[in-house]
């Protein structure tokens, strides 16, 4: 019989066991009946006939048992029995069971929540076919990008045809995702990306309904078509397949819908609700330069991104050679898609995952310790079981079952905890961790939680199991069992302390980082200032109509009751990034392209009153006045901008002009420097101020305006009246209103999040370590009651006794601390990138961590030590 059939037939026999048991009874009865009948026929007296029949058939009970066992899978049987038994024992010890389950639930819940939060960044497959072979490619500027971000853009798409050798396909999307307004019923603002016709195909994605773009759709001048996201399809078309061929009115033009993206699709860069063909080829001969694209490629099997980079480099060099000043500063770049998407968030993710794994480990160790303590107390029970014939392996399995039961219960409770914790994580998480808001407890997370729980059960159970397997007591009935455990228990406590030290140290470093960051003077004040941003859709507000709109809005806001001051800027104030520009013509001299890199600076258009609004001091010269608007353009430089543009000179009175060839009329007029402003921390507290150049005249063509309002009204009232003011001009225009303080707080949100989370973990770890040490010390004192009694009887002072207990604990704390420091030392690289103003080996942080640890743990052993000192020698000796 094949093994599979054999298993099936055994299982079916197991399920029909009662039937078989009944059958064997019937058969035996029949047999005996026949035998008696025959014996009688041969002439025996009925009683003798019955006795002979029974003799002949043998032991019927044994036969029944044989059939019973035949239909049994003994392993399953025993496991079920073990579970019932474990359940009963645990129910009898609710204190122990509840503690163990809670501790495990805490560890498992935190790990599950963290896994679910970070899964999308680290592990979950990207929603593209064969995503391993997808790369982001193009070039990145050596300057200009904020740390951790790199831009990859391409000029001259046609230079990439035919597809270069290491790729099976190259595709692009226009880098900026435009806003587009739905202008039919239920107006809303959507995001429209423009892609090449082979974009979805390259990613390995097909529309769920309808068709993909064709090269004809993507030809300049072709009739417009759109592919809509699954979400828009459900929301606006009620998921009707008949949506294909209908239109959606975008920016006033009805566009036919030809396809629907699959649910769960996400763009590899930016976010989009609508995809449109970019329709730029063949190139318009009248257009100079090109457009910025984000490019993706699919590598041929077995080609590494590095190999591809070597091929891409010359194309890139050719791509940028006629761009002034860009040549040497552009570097070819080919990175795996996941790295491109996740960026430096991966480092934070691993740090968090490490911390939560530490917490889980500590929880497991703690429960293992609890179980060991209980095993010692249950020695007698195990001896009895052993005497009744339970083999050692059987006992070990029993011990393991108990741990698994605890872990399963802990895992179940952990899932509930995880759901709650996940909500907190997502609330607190910095926006720089991508996709965290999409985290949810789905089947995948559930599967991981189950695996974690089982692993925890095994990790917890291995110790008591080992202790049963090793113990000699069960054989000899000696009193030595208890002595076998302490070493194991102390090892576990040491491991726990070591992990706790590492986590405490890490959180101390992060707390110091946070402290350093919030205490850096930013150079501006943002209290009681509201910011409002209004973005106009260029398709609905063409060039020339936006500036008047913003001016009208500015006047309206100024006229609102309670407004003390209002200013307008083209970048979020004061720390947001407006356009960055480079290439200035100074005092009429032609721009020096070798200086382009160093001259890159933020160019901020502001209305007068900006410096006063944010309390930015003007060091020399003057601030802007109303008269500066519209007449002769003037600029104000930040300190560092002044130094870069006019080293060693007084910049006042000199003129600055943007590259005349690259910018339109108004922007390019020479502007006189009228003041020097103090630099502000405009890229966050951790970084030196970026040079900034302020002007009153550079609003042109900006589609978004940022208002800063100081008002006497409360935030809610002010926000309502601001929204009202915007709605009077355009009833469907979206508005974002945030206190400027919140914008400032966002600069420190990542360190804040990390410090908060790691401190919470470290606190829990410390609590668990203290509980663990307390348990071991108490246990130790109980074990040694007799010795202590003898020593006290021999004249030892109670203080000597407690000192000895504390001393012993101190040795273990020290061992754990040393181990922990070594561990942390080895792992400093993980945290280094997240620190500011403090080294990863900052002595103060580590001393603080060790101090907190030592004090807490010594407090934990005080009670057992005191108990030891109070041992009554008479009672101790009598107890034996």
């Amino acid at each position: 019989m094949s093994p599979i059939r054999s298993v099936i037939s055994r299982l079916s026999a197991l399920l029909r066991r009662r039937e078989w048991d009944e059958r064997v009874d019937e058969e035996l009865e029949f047999h005996i009946g026949m035998e008696i009948e025959e014996n009688v026929r041969r002439g025996m007296a009925p009683p003798d006939a019955r006795a002979a029949a029974h003799r002949k058939i043998g032991n019927t009970t044994q036969v029944c048992e044989e059939v019973y066992h035949m239909n049994t899978i003994s392993f399953l049987e025993e496991t079920a029995h073990n579970f019932r038994l474990s359940f009963r024992t645990l129910r009898k010890n609710p204190g122990f069971a509840v503690t163990a389950v809670l501790v495990l639930a805490l560890g498992l819940g935190a790990s599950t929540a963290m896994f679910s939060a970070l899964d999308r960044i680290l592990f979950r497959p990207l929603p593209y076919a064969d995503a391993d072979r997808l790369v982001n490619l193009g070039w990145t500027m050596a300057f200009g990008a904020a740390p951790g971000q790199t831009q990859t853009v391409l000029f001259h798409r046609e230079r990439w045809k035919p597809t270069p050798e290491p790729f099976t396909a190259v595709t692009t999307m226009v880098s900026t995702v435009d806003m587009c307004d739905v202008t039919e019923q239920q107006p809303e603002r959507l995001r429209c990306a423009r892609i090449e016709s082979n974009f979805l195909q390259t990613l390995g994605v097909r529309p769920a309904v309808g068709r993909d773009f064709t090269p004809e759709d993507d030809t300049r001048g072709a009739p417009p078509v759109a592919i809509i996201s699954h979400d828009v399809w459900t929301r606006r078309f009620l998921a009707d397949a008949g949506a294909i061929g209908r239109t959606i009115e975008l920016n006033g033009n009805p566009i036919p819908v030809i396809g629907v993206l699959p649910a769960g699709f996400a763009m590899p860069a930016g976010e989009a609700d609508i995809l449109r063909p970019q329709q730029i080829l063949p190139l318009d001969p009248a257009s100079r330069g090109g457009s910025f694209f984000t490019a993706f490629g699919r590598l041929k099997q077995g080609v590494s991104p590095e190999q591809a980079r070597a091929v891409v480099a010359p194309i890139v060099a050719d791509d940028v050679k006629d761009l002034p000043g860009f040549g040497d500063n552009a570097k070819a770049r080919v990175v795996p898609l996941r790295d491109f998407l996740v960026g430096d968030a991966a480092r934070v993710a691993w740090l968090l995952l490490g911390a939560v794994a530490g917490l889980l480990l500590i929880a497991c160790v703690n429960v293992a310790n609890l179980i060991l303590a209980r095993m010692a107390a249950r020695t007698r029970e195990f001896e009895v079981r052993s005497a009744l014939g339970a083999g050692r392996a059987r006992l070990a399995r029993l011990a393991l079952t108990e741990s698994l039961l605890l872990a399963v219960a802990g895992g179940g409770l952990g899932m509930l905890l995880a759901a709650a914790m996940l909500r907190v994580f997502v609330q607190l998480a910095p926006s720089s961790i991508p996709e965290i808001d999409q985290a949810s407890l789905d089947l995948r997370v559930f599967a991981v939680a189950v695996v974690l729980a089982l692993a925890a059960g095994a990790a917890v159970g291995i110790w008591p199991t080992l202790s049963v397997l090793r113990s000699r007591t069960l054989q000899y009935g000696a009193r030595a069992t208890a002595a076998a455990h302490p070493r194991m228990r102390f090892t576990l406590v040491t491991v726990q302390i070591a992990l706790t030290v590492a986590m405490l140290g890490g959180s101390a470093l992060l707390l110091r980082t946070l402290w350093n960051l919030v205490s850096v003077p930013l150079g501006y004040q943002s209290e009681r200032v509201l910011t409002m941003s209004v973005a106009l859709n260029p398709a609905l507000y063409p060039n020339g109509s936006r500036d008047p709109f913003f001016e009208r809005l500015l006047e309206r806001v100024r006229g609102l009751p309670g407004t003390a001051a209002v200013t307008m800027s083209n970048g979020a104030s004061p720390a947001g990034t407006p356009a960055k520009l480079t290439g200035f013509s100074l005092d009429g001299r032609p721009p020096d392209s070798s200086q382009f890199k160093s001259q890159l600076m933020r160019a901020r258009a502001v209305t007068p009153g900006y410096f006063q609004m944010f309390g930015i001091p003007i060091l020399r010269g003057r601030a802007f006045v109303e008269a500066d608007r519209g007449t002769q353009p003037v600029v104000i430089l930040s300190e560092s901008a002044a130094q870069i543009l006019f080293p060693g000179q007084d910049p006042l009175g000199h003129t600055v002009q943007l590259l005349p060839s690259m910018y339109a009329n108004e922007w390019a007029k020479p502007a006189e420097v009228v003041g020097i402003a103090r630099g502000i921390r405009n890229t966050g507290p951790a970084l030196e101020p970026e040079p900034e150049i302020y002007a009153t005249a550079w609003f042109q063509n900006s589609s978004t305006a940022y208002f800063a309002i100081r008002t006497q009204a409360g935030t809610a009232t002010a926000a309502a009246s601001l929204k009202q003011a915007v709605a009077e001009l355009d009833p469907v225009l979206p508005v974002t209103i945030v206190p400027a303080d919140d914008q400032v707080a966002r600069l420190t949100e990542r360190p804040r999040f990390l410090a908060w989370l790691l401190s919470a973990f470290a606190g829990l770890a410390l609590l668990l370590a203290a509980a663990g040490l307390y348990g071991v010390a108490s246990y130790l004192v109980t074990q040694r009651t007799r010795d202590i009694g003898v020593r006290i009887a021999l004249g030892a002072a109670p203080s000597d006794i407690s000192r000895q207990v504390v001393g012993e604990a101190a040795r273990w704390i020290a061992a754990g601390a040393v181990l922990g420091c070594a561990l942390a030392w080895a792992a400093t690289r993980a945290i280094e990138a997240q620190l500011y103003g403090v080294g990863s080996r900052d002595p103060l942080s580590w001393i603080a961590a060790l101090g907190v640890l030592t004090v807490t743990l010594l407090l934990a052993v005080l009670r057992p030590a005191a108990r030891a000192a109070r041992v009554d020698p008479m009672e101790a000796l009598r107890a034996e």
Binding site: V24, E26, E27, M34, V63, V67
Partner: protein, 112 residues
């Protein structure tokens, strides 16, 4: 237990049962027991109880099948008959038994 009587060899009971059921067609348990006893001419000591686990094992393996019927003396009884698979199995076991016994005979002959 009678010393002259051989205890039934482990694993051979299956072979005996299969052979009996094959040659005599559908039989109930008691009849199978009697037949084995009769053929062995009392050489074999067998507790008949052990027959029933063997029957059930064979049925679970699919080598024999059973159904209710009525015995000669009008009792309800389970009648066992061999299946196609059972025949194959019997042929197989009989062959290996022959080889085994031939080997053992040779072994005993050579060492004597």
């Amino acid at each position: 237990m009678d010393k002259d009587k051989a205890a039934i060899l482990q694993g051979t009971l299956d072979l005996l049962v299969l052979k009996t059921v094959e040659t005599l067609g559908p039989l109930h348990g008691w009849a199978i027991a009697k037949r084995i006893e009769q053929i062995s001419e009392d050489l074999l000591e067998m507790k008949y109880g052990t027959l029933y686990p063997a029957l059930m094992r064979l049925e679970q393996s699919g080598w024999i099948s059973s159904e209710w019927g009525t015995s000669d003396n009008n009792r309800r009884a389970r009648f066992y008959s061999i299946t196609r698979q059972g025949r194959k199995q019997l042929a197989l076991e009989a062959k290996s038994w022959e080889q085994m016994s031939a080997f053992i005979t040779r072994m005993l002959g050579s060492t004597r």
